[in-house]
């Protein structure tokens, strides 16, 4: 069973990395999710696989070590939160940039972008540079 799991983990992580390297934001997010699944299976596998033993104390033993399951549960919960957050950021980036192409974000250090001024969603424009928009106001009202 270990080899089967190793194969599955390899396929999952490989798919994840492939998706992570693509240009579309949504594919990047899905790629991260695939990697997370692969990692969770890794924890399950390295802690020892056994078909006959549930991690439940309410049924007769022998039991499998429950700690990896707890670790995976924690990792899944955190994974949900971060996936939700990155999807929110992706949506906002789509609204602001007008496309979900990572490459067209441009290289910020080179500062060549600003050709893609068309917004996808004119209802939700970004307050670009809110730091400076009311500079005089903020300057006059400090503590």
């Amino acid at each position: 069973m270990n080899s089967l799991f190793a194969l599955i983990i390899g396929v999952l992580v490989g798919t994840g990395v492939f998706l992570l390297l693509s240009r579309s934001i949504v594919r990047v997010v899905i790629g991260l999710a695939f990697i997370a699944y692969g990692i969770n299976l890794t924890i399950l596998t390295v802690a020892g696989l056994s078909q006959a033993s549930p991690p439940l104390l309410s049924s007769p033993g022998p039991y499998v070590d429950p700690l990896p399951q707890a670790l995976i549960l924690t990792a899944i919960v955190i994974g949900f939160a971060t996936t939700a957050l990155i999807l929110t950021v992706a949506l906002r980036a789509y609204q602001v940039a007008g496309h979900d192409d990572v490459e067209a974000f441009g290289d910020n250090l080179a500062r060549t972008v600003d050709s893609d001024l068309e917004r996808a969603d004119p209802e939700h424009q970004s307050p670009d540079q809110p730091d400076w928009e009311d500079d005089t106001l903020a300057g006059g009202r400090s503590l």
């Binding site: 934001i25 991260l32 020892g48 039991y63 906002r92 910020n108 307050p127 400090s142």
Partner: protein, 517 residues
């Protein structure tokens, strides 16, 4: 020694953060956040005081004994880092209060900052590898939110890069935790240390140490893995970027020191060689990057990368002298980065642009700012009257004393990088401060409240060179403690051997229930 003290600096900002989520008026929220941060700083000082005699404080969560439950531990290193983080937190919050930003504050900038403090303190004080991952996630989720809060185009672009990079690194950390548990059967630092001590040097454990080093190197922004840093930090609002730059990379460095000295001491030779190489490359990359940029915080972000390179160099040398020098350099680097980012905030507002060029003569207009900048620039590049010189001199001397060919190359890189950094920072001085003031350029007034944190932080940087002696004494003691694994193991796990209870067979439970499943 059992004590609830290590929990206090974690729970306090967490509670204050929750309170800040309530719909309160701004002065109330601000007062709450400031009180919480100052109290957190005082609690960290208490921790430093309590661990000064070499005792390791342990908090057992839920009363579960060490290898089975989650424990918070505070030794000299943890307390030291916790105090530095709290100090930077105070300054960041001070600037945040002085520079009102209603757009972001409406969207819970205070609460997120407090959660960021919680995550940072948790990662310094945890005594468990998986809990370290959880702490990283708490810290990173708060930092992701702060990085994109306000959603300017630049923030989203850089924030997305930052988030994806860190999520990938986090997956690797979970995998490393799983593999560590599969190999050594435990996740508690002390228990891991005990088991790897019993096993002696092992290739599998070395592989784990290298894997963990890779993860922490990406958190600490070492050369090939730190590409996200110079883009992300300048996109942030000023208060956040000061705290991010001062502390977040140091969390990775702390984890490196912890894992390579306390936990896998016997297996740390190979990861240390990697660190030495990466450190040498990072120093040069940071220095050259700083030279290539023309905006305040972009230049400074690259010097942050450079300083992480020096720390990796110190940890990678592996000798007690080098570790001591690295620990001193941590304090110098945190304070000087904080001061420089606060100075940059004032300078950007006064000049009305993030560019350092096309502004001249600020030495006449803001002499105090110019003086503070010069002091900090000299400290970063490590010239004599400053604490930066003392720390870098100690690092270079430790490198020469270690004497391996790679160490000598790294020493050359360190000296070269210092020179290039000095040139980069002095060209900022020449462009921005030096020369005759152009009367046609408007000087945007910056309120005194926003300038004070920068000056006080620069004062602390100046004070560091006076207190270099006590700092070295403390670092010396910390190094001795870090190299003595048995003391840490005894303090956390107790005197007796750890007995793993036998696998439960379910008989006990069946008896209670009268035999029916």
């Amino acid at each position: 020694m059992n004590s609830a003290l290590p929990l206090a600096p974690i729970l306090l900002p967490f509670g204050v953060g929750l309170l800040c989520l309530l719909p309160l008026r701004r002065p109330l929220k601000a007062g709450l956040a400031l009180t919480g941060t100052v109290l957190m700083f005082l609690l960290s000082l208490l921790l430093v005081n309590a661990t000064a005699d070499g005792s390791v404080l342990v908090s057992e969560l839920g009363g579960w004994k060490a290898p089975f439950g989650i424990v918070m531990t505070a030794d000299r290193l943890s307390a030291y880092m916790s105090a530095l983080a709290s100090l930077s937190g105070v300054f960041a919050l001070w600037f945040m209060l002085a520079a009102e930003d209603r757009v972001r504050e409406k969207h819970h900038a205070f609460a997120l900052t407090m959660f960021l403090f919680t995550g940072v303190q948790l990662s310094f004080l945890t005594g468990d590898l998986f809990n370290l991952f959880v702490a990283f996630e708490v810290m990173l989720v708060a930092s992701y939110a702060l990085a994109v809060l306000g959603s300017t185009r630049e923030q989203l672009r850089e924030g997305f890069r930052y988030i994806v990079m860190n999520l990938a690194a986090s997956s690797l950390l979970v995998a490393a935790c799983g593999l560590t548990y599969g190999t050594l059967g435990t996740l508690n630092f002390a228990h891991l240390a005990q088991r790897s001590l019993e096993l002696g040097p092992r290739t599998t454990v070395t592989a784990l140490a290298v894997l963990l080093m890779t993860v922490f190197a990406s958190k600490g922004a070492l050369f090939p893995l730190g590409f996200w840093l110079p883009g992300t930090y300048p996109a942030l609002p000023h208060a956040s970027s000061a705290f991010f730059a001062a502390i977040l990379t140091k969390v990775g460095v702390y984890a490196l020191i912890r894992v390579l000295t306390t936990v896998f001491q016997a297996d740390s030779a190979l990861p240390q060689i990697f660190l030495l190489g990466l450190g040498a490359a990072t120093m040069l990359f940071g220095a050259l990057g700083a030279l290539s940029q023309r905006e305040w915080r972009r230049i400074l972000s690259f010097t942050v990368m450079g300083s992480v390179g020096y720390l990796a160099f110190g940890v990678g040398l592996g000798t007690p002298d080098a570790l001591r020098a690295a620990l001193v350099y941590v304090a110098v680097s945190v304070l000087v980065t904080l001061a420089l980012f606060l100075i940059a905030a004032v300078a950007e507002r006064a000049g009305g642009t993030p560019l350092t060029r096309h502004r001249r003569g600020f030495v006449d207009r803001m002499p105090l700012l110019a003086g503070s900048y010069l002091l900090c620039a000299l400290t970063v590049s490590g010239l004599p009257p400053t604490a930066g010189f003392v720390a870098k001199y100690a690092l270079v001397r430790a490198g020469i004393a270690q004497g391996s060919p790679l160490a000598i190359i790294a020493v050359v890189c360190a000296l070269l990088a210092s020179l290039i950094t000095l040139f980069a920072l002095l060209s900022v001085w020449r462009d921005f401060f030096w020369g005759k003031a152009d009367k046609t350029m408007p000087l945007h007034p910056v309120p005194a409240g926003q300038q004070t944190p920068a000056y006080v932080a620069s004062g602390l940087v100046a004070g560091l060179s006076l207190f270099a002696g006590p700092l070295f004494t403390h670092a010396e003691a910390t190094t001795r403690e870090l190299r003595d694994q048995r003391h840490y193991i005894r303090s956390v796990l107790g005197e007796g051997p750890v007995v793993i209870p036998p696998d439960p067979q379910g008989k006990e439970l069946m008896k209670d229930k009268g035999g029916t499943p």
